[in-house]
Symmetry: C2
């Protein structure tokens, strides 16, 4: 008697997850724009119509792909907000690297969206949180340090692109050194 609507229908959730999984791989390998709904459907083993049955459109698929990373970034921003400036900076350095390494796939995806990222409401929150994180990373109101923080982020994200061959630890170590050199926090 449908007294528990909160439990997700197994079939629905299974297909949905598979679509998101395959979409992530394709977005990462070929870019968002170069990946068609048919490509995603074929990789996921269903029809294009099924993809549009589970998602309202291609941007909705993108939002689902980005969601885990966006949630982690949002949580990090929230945590940093309750710390002192210096502590927030240290947390930002360590955690930003972790997030970029762990979610390095979404960095590739975001790469392909940059020219039109302002017009995508699906990623607006992620972008805004990234800006916040940039401020925490700078650790100062000095415009130079703020610019250097953005410089560091660009280097960090660039380094995490196409970095499947590197191990997480190697990538983390490299980014840690580079970030602390730029921010002079070594």
């Amino acid at each position: 008697m449908m007294h528990d609507m909160a439990v997700t229908t197994p079939a629905r959730e299974r297909t949905r997850r598979e679509i998101v999984r395959q979409a992530m791989d394709l977005f990462q390998a070929a870019g968002y724009n170069a990946t068609s709904l048919q490509d995603i459907a074929t990789a996921a083993g269903c029809s294009k119509a099924t993809v549009l049955y589970h998602f309202s459109g291609k941007p909705a698929v993108l939002a689902a792909v980005l969601e885990p990373a966006a949630a982690d970034v949002a949580a990090l921003v929230k945590a940093a907000a309750e710390l002192s400036r210096a502590d927030a900076q240290e947390l930002a350095i360590r955690s930003f690297i972790d997030l970029a390494v762990v979610h390095r796939g979404v960095v590739d995806v975001l790469q392909d969206i940059l020219p039109v990222i302002e017009q995508m409401p699906e990623v607006a929150q992620l972008v805004a949180d990234g800006m916040q994180l940039s401020d925490y990373l700078a650790g100062s109101d000095d415009p130079l340090e703020q610019d250097l923080a953005k410089f560091a982020i660009n280097g960090l994200l660039g380094e995490c692109r196409h970095a499947q061959e590197r191990t997480d630890d190697d990538l983390r170590r490299l980014c840690d050194i580079a970030l602390r050199r730029i921010l002079r926090r070594a």
Copy 2:
């Protein structure tokens, strides 16, 4: 009696230049993939067929847009090849920044091509020269320094994207500081 075919027909060269000019602006603003031949033609004040009369295809337009920057990079690589390691590094730092700042428009363009840049023979030489420059920038065979040089380049190119509002000097100063911090050559 057509004894001087080397002189370019004024009309031909004028239209060609205008197409390249407008294509550059559009590629920079919206990205290569998001810009159609019709967009370029409309901006240049001619028909799409005219664009394809002057260029063999869309990739040829891209090559023409990238050509001045590619030539400068090639010249820099050639110059650095005849210097000592330390001098080559110093030259790379200074000149790479200059090129990235002056040609910051093409940096935006290249941004949109990255996912498929390996399959574009039109930019292969530019990419190869960029790799060479990365080696000169590292100034060492140490893998860590090599990776840090790539990190620095990513930061530098990222900083030059969407930077029309900044003055050339401001941008140059910022990049110089960041590069020397990462490479520890300050």
